[in-house]
Symmetry: C2
Subunit: 464 residues, 2 copies
C-alpha cells in the first residue's frame, strides 16, 4: 500500500500544481468570465455552425451564390438565437469569378512539368488558349526596374521573394512580401510583361497555391496573374538558377462581372442603459473561393455570433447595445465595412468599441488595440482580468481590416490575436478547411470575444 | 496611379504595424537571441531528426528494440554534431510488452458492438480467452467504496469521469482525472472486481484509446485494465444510462518481462569557465508503444539536441558546461532520471539549472519554474528578454517529471510550456505521429531552450 500511495502522491504533486495560480483579479468579473469560458467550452454552438458554413455552404466569395447562402444562414441562425434584432445592410460588391480550374506548366531542357497555380483575385484571364512565354525571376520592384523594358517585354515575370521565415509573428512576414501579389502584375505591366506568376504567401513547403487580392493601376495595362505553390516556386527557382531557360505556360478563365447586391448581417442585443452607444464584435462573412474559408474567416464569423449567444444565454443584461457584425467583402473590396462605417454616421450610432476576429481560429494569445492608450487604466484592467485565461499578449497596433474603416479617434478598436504559426499554411488556399480548425481553440476565441465585450461594457459604464 | 497607391498604402499601413513593437531589452542579449531564433527557423535539423525518430524508428517503450535504436541514433547524431563529449549512463528499466492487439466488445440488448481499447501500461493480461463480465460504471473511488464488494465483485468496473473541458490549461484537466487510470485497477481490485475499463484521458470525441502508466498495490490483487476511446466510453455510458445491462468482453496479451538494460544519452558542450557547474536541457527518449511518440516526447528530445547544436554552430562559448540529457523510461518508471540524479551526486556535478521539454512540440507560450523565486531578478530578466519572442507565460510551478528528480533547492528547474489545447488529442495514443507536429512550432521551441540556456549561462556568470 505504501509504495502505491507514494507513487500517487508524487503523481498528484506533479499534476495539481498547475491549478494553483495566483488570482489578483476582481472576483465579480472573474466569476462572470469563468461562466463565459465554462459555457463556451461546454455548450458553444460555434464549432457546429462553422461545420455548416464550411461543409454545407462552402467558400463564399463576394457575389457568389454561396455568399448569399451564408447571408441567409447566419440571419436565420441569429434569429433562431432570439437576439433582440437581426438585420441586414445592403451593399454592392465586386463580383469576380474564377471559372474553370487553372492549368500551368514549365518547359525546360529537362522536360515539361505541370505546376499548381491559381488566378489571383481580380486578375483578368489569359487568352483563351493560354499564355506561354519565357520566364524571368525577380524578387522586388527595384529589381524589376533595373531589368527594365528591354529584358522584361513579352516575358512572364516570376516574383519569388519568400515570406521571411525568421519573423516570430507570421503576419510580419506576410506584410513584408504581399506587395508582390497585390501590385506585381501592375508593376510588371509597366515594363511590358505578358503575365505574372507570384510565389504563394506561405511558410510551408507544400503544393497549395494561395490566392488573394491584386490591383491594376487605373491607367495601366492589365496582364493576367497567378500564384504558384511554394514547392512549385522552388522548382522554377531551381531551374532558373541552374541556368535552364524556362518557358512558362498558364491558362486562366477568370473574369470580373458587374457588381452584385450583397449584405452585411447584423445581430443585436439591446443595451439596458446606454441606448445610443454600441459595442460590436465582427468577422467577415465572405471568403476566397478556395478551400472552405474555415479560418479566414468562418472562424471570426461564428465566434462573433457565439459571443452574443453566450452573453444572452448567461442572462447578462448589457448596458450598451451589443452587435455581432458579419462584414461582407473583406477579401476583395472591403465594401461591407465601408458601408457599415457610412451608415453608423448617418444613423448617429456612437460606437465606443469594435472588436474583430480575422486572424484565424487558432489558440488565443491576446488582443491588439488602437485608439486606446497603451498605458491607460482600461488596458491595465483588461490585462489583469484576462490573465487567468492565458490571454497575455496585448499589442498596441493593427486591430482588423474591417473595423479599421471606423474612426479610431471615436471608437476603440480591438483585434483578436490567435497564435499565428499555422495561419499561412491555410490562408486563401484549398487547405483552409473545417478540419484545420480545432474545436477548443475556436471556443476559447469565442469566449475571449464575449469576455472582452463584457469587460468593456462594465468598465466604461462604471467609469462614467 | 493614385488609386493604386492609395490602396497599397492602406495595405501597408495595415500590415507593417505588426513589425513596430517596443524593445526594452538589453541589446546585446536581444541580438544573440535573434541569432538563435533566426538559426532555428532557417537551419534547424530538429524537424528532420524527429521525422527519423518517428518514421524510421517508431514508438520506443523502455526495453524495446526501438528504444535501443533511439539510443544509438541520438548518440550518433550528437557525435555527428561534434559536441565536446557524448556518453551514456546505464540504467535498468522495466520491460512491459503489449503483445497482440487488444480486442473488446460490449454486449447489450441492442446487440454486440466492437470497441477500441488498449491495455494500460503495466497491466497484467486477461486470461487467454479474454475476460467477460457485467459492466458497472463509476466516476471516482468514493463511488466505488459506496458500491462496495457486494455490487462490484466479479464485475468489470468502468471508470468514466471525463477530463473537465472547462480547464483553460488542459494539464489541469489531466491532473483531475488521471487517478482513474493510474490507480483504478488497484482500487477496484480491493472490492473484488474482475477487470477495469478506463475512459481515455482525452478532450476530443474520437476513437483513439490512450494508454499510460498504472500501478498495482504491492499487496493487492492484480486485475487487467484497458483504456477505451472517448467515443467508446460515451457509447457505454449511453447504454448504461438508458437502462441496458452491459456485458463487457476484452482480451489483452500484455506482460511484464524481466528488467532490461537501457541508457540515458547525454551530449555535452564544455564550459569555458565554470568547469564544475552544469546547465542541462532534456526530454525523454522513451515513449509509449502507440503512435510514434512524436509530441511525447520525440519533440523534447530533438529540441534539447537542437538547442546545443544551435549554440555550438553560432560559436557561442558557454561559461558553464551545457548538456542535452535524453532521459530513458520517463513513461513507466522514471528510472533514467533517478539514475541521472544519483550519478550527479556521486560525481559531484553542480547543476545550477535544468530545463525540460515534455509537454509536446506545440507553439511556445513560456516557461514554468521551481527553485527560483517568482519575484527574483532572474525571472524579471528572463521575462524581459523573452518578451520580443512572444514567450509571455511564466508560471511558478511544475517544471517537468524528469528534472524533478533533481533537488530544486540545489538546481533551478524550468519547464518549457507550449500551448496545451491539442496535447491530449495525441497523448499516449496512435494519433501521436510526426504529422501532428508543426515544423515552425517545433523549431521555435528549440530556439526557446537555446535562448534560456544562453540567458542563464550569461546571467549567473555575470552576477558572480
Amino acid at each position: 500500500m505504501k509504495s502505491f500511495k507514494f507513487y500517487l502522491s508524487c503523481l498528484f504533486s506533479v499534476l495539481f500544481i498547475f491549478s494553483v495560480r495566483a488570482q489578483t483579479t476582481d472576483s465579480t468579473h472573474y466569476r462572470f468570465l469563468r461562466q463565459i469560458y465554462d459555457y463556451a467550452l461546454t455548450q458553444a454552438d460555434c464549432y457546429e455552425n462553422l461545420r455548416h458554413i464550411c461543409k454545407e455552404i462552402g467558400p463564399r466569395l463576394s457575389g457568389s451564390p454561396q455568399a448569399s447562402q451564408a447571408i441567409d444562414y447566419t440571419t436565420q441562425l441569429m434569429q433562431g438565437y432570439a437576439f433582440d434584432t437581426v438585420f441586414r445592410q445592403k451593399v454592392e460588391v465586386p463580383h469576380w469569378v474564377r471559372g474553370e480550374k487553372e492549368i500551368a506548366y514549365a518547359q525546360t531542357a529537362s522536360g515539361k512539368k505541370e505546376l499548381p497555380v491559381c488566378a489571383l483575385g481580380g486578375s483578368i484571364a489569359t487568352p483563351k488558349n493560354g499564355l506561354e512565354a519565357s520566364l524571368i525571376m525577380v524578387h522586388d520592384f527595384e529589381e524589376l526596374e533595373k531589368l527594365g523594358k528591354k529584358q522584361i517585354k513579352g516575358k512572364i515575370v516570376f516574383f519569388n521573394r519568400p515570406m521571411p521565415p525568421t519573423c516570430i509573428h507570421t503576419f510580419d512576414a506576410y506584410g513584408k512580401t504581399v506587395d508582390q501579389r497585390f501590385a506585381g502584375a501592375a508593376e510588371a505591366a509597366k515594363y511590358g510583361a505578358a503575365g505574372v506568376v507570384v510565389r504563394s504567401m506561405g511558410l510551408r513547403n507544400d503544393d497549395f497555391p494561395h490566392t488573394g487580392s491584386m490591383k491594376y493601376y487605373g491607367d495601366g495595362k492589365k496582364i493576367p496573374a497567378v500564384a504558384i505553390s511554394v514547392n512549385g516556386a522552388d522548382y522554377l527557382k531551381e531551374q532558373i538558377e541552374s541556368g535552364n531557360d524556362v518557358n512558362f505556360f498558364f491558362k486562366t478563365h477568370c473574369q470580373t462581372l458587374p457588381d452584385a447586391l450583397s449584405h452585411n448581417v447584423i445581430g443585436e442585443l439591446y443595451g439596458s442603459d446606454q441606448k445610443d452607444a454600441f459595442i460590436i464584435a465582427g468577422g467577415h462573412l465572405d471568403s476566397w473561393d478556395m478551400g472552405e474559408g474555415a479560418h479566414d474567416d468562418g472562424a471570426g464569423t461564428v465566434q462573433a455570433i457565439e459571443a452574443l449567444r453566450i452573453l444572452k444565454n448567461l442572462g447578462y443584461p448589457p448596458k450598451h447595445n451589443i452587435r455581432a457584425v458579419l462584414f461582407m467583402n473583406e477579401e476583395n473590396g472591403m465594401r461591407g465595412a465601408k458601408k457599415y462605417a457610412e451608415l453608423l454616421k448617418e444613423n448617429n450610432e456612437k460606437h465606443i468599441a469594435a472588436i474583430e476576429s480575422d486572424r484565424g481560429g487558432f489558440t488565443p494569445r491576446g488582443f491588439s488595440f488602437e485608439g486606446v492608450d497603451e498605458n491607460s487604466a482600461l488596458i491595465a484592467f483588461l490585462k489583469r482580468e484576462f490573465a487567468p485565461f492565458n490571454m497575455l499578449q496585448w499589442d498596441a497596433g493593427h486591430s482588423g481590416p474591417d473595423i479599421r474603416q471606423l474612426n479610431k479617434h471615436e471608437t476603440m478598436l480591438f483585434g483578436y490575436i490567435p497564435d499565428s504559426q499555422r495561419y499561412f499554411d491555410v490562408h486563401h488556399a484549398d487547405s483552409d478547411v473545417f478540419e484545420a480548425v480545432h474545436k477548443r481553440e475556436l471556443e476559447l476565441g469565442a469566449a475571449a470575444l464575449a469576455a472582452l465585450i463584457y469587460l468593456i461594457d462594465q468598465n466604461l459604464y462604471h467609469k462614467k
